[in-house]
Symmetry: C2
Subunit: 454 residues, 2 copies
């Protein structure tokens, strides 16, 4: 038994996010992603359920490796169509007071000055409820939408991301001093110009003069989310992330991952306790075991393996190989695949047919999954949290809003009875909710804090 367990909802401004085919389920509302009411209703639901935040994924290109083109992704609505994630946040913020918003944005294709202002604007409008999920993008198709021929090589993307963060810290933390904004009507001084500074950043990848156009927002730097898997990505997370989104396959593996990231963070001079961890959680819950079984069966009937292959096809086009070929052989021969997406399949002796058989299964064998009654689900959540040391979970959706509704109506009360889930929100910024009262700005040991003026 330990502290409170936090929950985010994993979302995306699209039809098919991670559970492909389920848009055909009659109770699913995902096709309503273009309606503002889809988002405002969802926000109200999550605030009723006392969630920390809604976590919005994003991509900026189509999955076009599987079967040699984007046709499967388009037909199955696998992250295409996909609309901008930032623009649903203000509508959700308008109907809530406490719910947080973690939005994905890539450091690879758009200028940091504009992104800095967008995040500051969101942090103002939400009064400090915003997080940024930092990604570097991994689709060749995305690169080709932004003037490039192919993806920028992995380590160079991270090098660019490091400098991108440096620019943002300068704008968010260093450009406007505390106390710069006076709003002195008598003397007609809105801002003290002596306390607003150009940043004059000149680096290898960016030149940005500043000053920042936004006055300091409640959190200044939004809460920084990250999901790094590679060595370089893990170091990046250890250096910058305040919340790590992970897909570990067991509490033990997660415990090791947490220890590793925190070790790296300490080596960078950070307080390792300032990094929180949110593994993904797939939960199917119903009042009785019989209803759980029926629900799982009903979901299985709507799953579309082709959709999963189209998305996994970002890594390797499984349709191009025979069913008995070893994944390791395919990768060893080299070929047209994405290293990051293929990595989870490597070194496990898998054949093509194993992967084909496994995709789109609803069940265990991967990241945290539980189907059960409220008591069974709460048991498993507690076990995972306590054995791993996770701060909380990102709830995956099967049905929208059904998955979140079930969780909020059935699991949340059970966790509350056990003292493991908040019973009300305090008035807090998103960062305070992770780090405690008063911690609305980056902690002193975070690298972003080094850009503050004395």
């Amino acid at each position: 038994m330990s502290g409170l367990i936090h929950f985010n909802l994993f979302e995306m401004n699209c039809v098919g996010h991670i559970q492909h085919g389920l848009w055909t389920h009659p109770a699913n509302n995902r096709h309503r992603y273009t309606d503002l009411e889809y988002w405002t209703d969802l926000a109200r639901l999550l605030e009723r359920g006392l969630f920390d935040a809604v976590f919005l994924a994003d991509v900026v290109g189509a999955y076009d490796r599987y079967r040699g083109g984007p046709e499967t992704a388009i037909r199955e609505a696998v992250q295409i169509p996909a609309n901008d994630p930032l623009l649903v946040v203000p509508a959700m913020a308008a109907v809530t007071r406490h719910l947080g918003f973690a939005v994905t944005f890539s450091t690879t294709y758009e200028p940091p000055f504009a992104h800095a202002r967008r995040m500051s604007t969101l942090d103002h409008l939400t009064k400090g409820r915003v997080a940024w999920n930092i990604v570097t993008s991994y689709l060749r198709s995305a690169a080709r939408n932004f003037g490039l021929d192919d993806e920028i090589e992995h380590d160079l993307r991270y090098e660019i991301a490091e400098e991108y963060l440096e620019v943002l810290y300068k704008l968010w933390e260093g450009s406007w001093e505390d106390g710069a904004v006076l709003r002195d009507r008598e003397r007609a001084v809105y801002t003290d110009p002596a306390k607003v500074h150009a940043i004059d950043h000149v680096g290898k990848h960016f030149r940005v003069a500043g000053p920042h156009l936004s006055e300091p927002s409640p959190q200044r730097t939004p809460v920084l989310y990250q999901a790094g898997n590679s060595e370089r990505g893990k170091d990046f997370a250890a250096r910058h992330a305040e919340a790590v989104f992970t897909g570990a396959v067991s509490p033990e593996a997660l415990r090791e991952e947490i220890a590793d990231t925190r070790r790296r963070a300490a080596a960078f001079g950070r307080d390792p306790a300032h990094i929180t961890f949110f593994p993904s959680a797939s939960v199917i819950v119903a009042p009785t075991e019989r209803e759980v079984e029926a629900k799982v069966a009903e979901l299985r009937r709507h799953i579309r393996p082709e959709g999963f292959l189209a998305q996994r096809g970002s890594g390797i086009d499984l349709a191009a190989y025979g069913p008995e070929e070893l994944i390791d052989d395919i990768v060893a021969r080299g070929g047209d695949f994405t290293e990051r997406a293929v990595r989870p399949l490597v070194g496990r002796g898998l054949r093509v047919r194993d992967v084909l058989d496994s995709v789109g299964r609803i069940g265990g064998g991967g990241p945290f999954f539980v189907a059960g009654t409220p008591g069974q689900v709460a048991d498993e959540i507690e076990r995972w949290a306590d054995e791993s040391g996770a701060t909380g979970f990102n709830l995956m959706q099967y049905l929208s809003p059904g998955t979140a509704e079930d969780f909020i109506d059935l699991v949340v009360p059970e966790l509350q009875r056990r003292g493991r889930y908040r019973t009300e929100y305090g008035d807090a910024t998103l960062r305070e909710r992770l780090l405690g009262p008063g911690a609305h700005r980056l902690p002193a040991t975070h690298p972003g804090a080094a850009y503050r003026r004395a």
Copy 2:
């Protein structure tokens, strides 16, 4: 007597937009621009007043020419701080059903693929209530926030803008055919891949592969606003704009400007009636003449000429010259000024002191201004509209929300009595409101329509 007169409200996500110093007025709420409620309250007010749209200006750099630096602009809050304009739209859309949103975005600094998706997202979320005010940016400081040393030269900016529009038309009009989205649950086909196309744009300034990530929104291409002054800018407006924002100083001058733009549009093969014109309108209204005088005097007391000079200082640093020097001489000698911003001062025999004396005056002598009782104001609005052929006006704000409240409570009923102002909204997209029922997409003679597939 003619048709209905349309109104937009001119706004900006900042403290000091165009009336500098008035933030110090006790009834002004501009310092609340960081609050979502400022925007949602404003949206409800404008919808009660049956406005066409709120028109959001933007800049992406600080005014830093006056007195050799940004200090004056910062002290007077002249468009700094300034937050992102797109991000207040979804919140305003969430509390309204009819109000339109015209947002400013520059074609010079950010990639077209991302902007296309942002506008499509807004058009979806608002169900076709979005316009884009196309600018090419004119501040050196903006260029320096995006990796450049100085502004891109004027005509090259327009060349880039032309190609930017071409990319957007391909994404908005050509990438997804009508009927591509099937949402066929039985066959599990969300989108027919045969009807979604890469754009494979390869031009001088941009390479964009596509397909567009957004499915077609109600208007596809948002209503296109523009405010071109130069020859190149006028041609750009004549080619692309559907609504032209202008600051003409008399109905006659505006009539000529409208005729000129429509002539140019016809030469480009467009139906000239498809371009609508919105001059700026500064209105001070009260029930009696005595109250009008008191209101004008009260506003004058809070005006800050330094703020106006800081903004005009984008054109020329008037503090650097003697009061008797002729503007024409200064410009003829060449120097550190911005051609576009200086243009209205040239060829008029003005001395530096004339400009210094005139800034921050509340009154006539420039674009449309009227202070009077509801009947006097309505007379002047009708006269301007009828003599010029303007479609409507962009209402400038002195006080927020006071200026719009006064207008809606006092002038709108008077215009309605005269049959010159709508008494209710129909169900219409923003484009239909300008061009008539059914016209939710670009007209066939608009250049963007050429990118549609047969």
